[in-house]
């Protein structure tokens, strides 16, 4: 299945701004992040030393925070859009 990923600001520079990733059916956010953070730079940007997603990382699926869903265990389906970004700084 194809998952579309949008990354913003520094995350876009490191991960790529707009991606379409091919994932196995039944994959979750955890699986998506494994693919997305294959490089050391990308991994270090999103995860801390203990392998936990850094506090400043926001991940949305279909516009909803994954915390309000099943966190990294949130299951994806074909065509889902996932957004990942650092703290906002507009204005």
């Amino acid at each position: 299945m194809i998952i579309r990923v949008k990354a913003f600001a520094r995350f876009g520079e490191v991960l790529g701004k707009e991606l379409a990733l091919e994932l196995d059916h039944g994959s979750d956010i955890d699986g998506l992040l494994a693919l997305l953070c294959a490089s050391q730079d990308a991994y270090d940007l999103i995860f801390d030393e203990s392998g936990t997603i850094r506090d400043y990382v926001t991940i949305l699926k279909g516009g909803r925070h994954i915390q309000s869903l099943d966190g990294v265990r949130t299951v994806l389906k074909d065509g889902d859009e996932v957004a990942i970004f650092p703290p906002v700084a507009g204005g």
Binding site: K6, F85, A89, G90, G91
Partner: protein, 134 residues
């Protein structure tokens, strides 16, 4: 009116459109690219979500304060020192509400709306994203 757009805006026209017989006070916040030793800024947004969040904040402001109108335009793209970044226009019968709602909008926008700014350096070097520690 809520907009996230690359286009510049005409403040005079927007203020004029915000005039309403009930509005005795229009309070405006205009954010401009400031010369912090930079040449400009690159502004990026997650536009769909940013517009949605701005609408949510506008709704909150309309519930909290006695205001009649709240307009927000946030620009994106490459801006130079002195360019407009953000316009907020709040109309109310009385000034206290207009000031309070305008400040509420900008405070919440900075915390919640999906927009990011990158400084552009005069020497062409890669600038930092605003708010980043590194």
């Amino acid at each position: 009116m809520i907009e996230v757009t690359e286009d510049d805006f005409n403040v005079g026209k927007i203020l004029n459109d915000a005039k309403h017989p009930d509005n005795g006070a229009l309070v405006t916040f205009l954010g401009i690219v400031r010369d912090d030793g930079i040449s400009g800024m690159e502004i990026e947004s997650y536009t769909d979500l940013a517009v949605q969040e701005l609408n949510t904040i506008e709704k909150e402001a309309l519930e909290r304060f006695n205001i009649r109108s709240l307009d927000v335009i946030h620009r994106t793209g490459t801006l130079s020192v002195g360019d407009n970044i953000l316009l907020i226009v709040c109309g109310a019968p009385h000034r206290k509400d207009a000031f309070a709602a305008c400040e509420y909008m900008i405070d919440e926008l900075k915390k919640r709306v999906q927009v990011w700014k990158k400084e552009l350096h005069k020497d062409g070097a890669n600038g930092k994203w605003v708010g980043e520690e590194t």
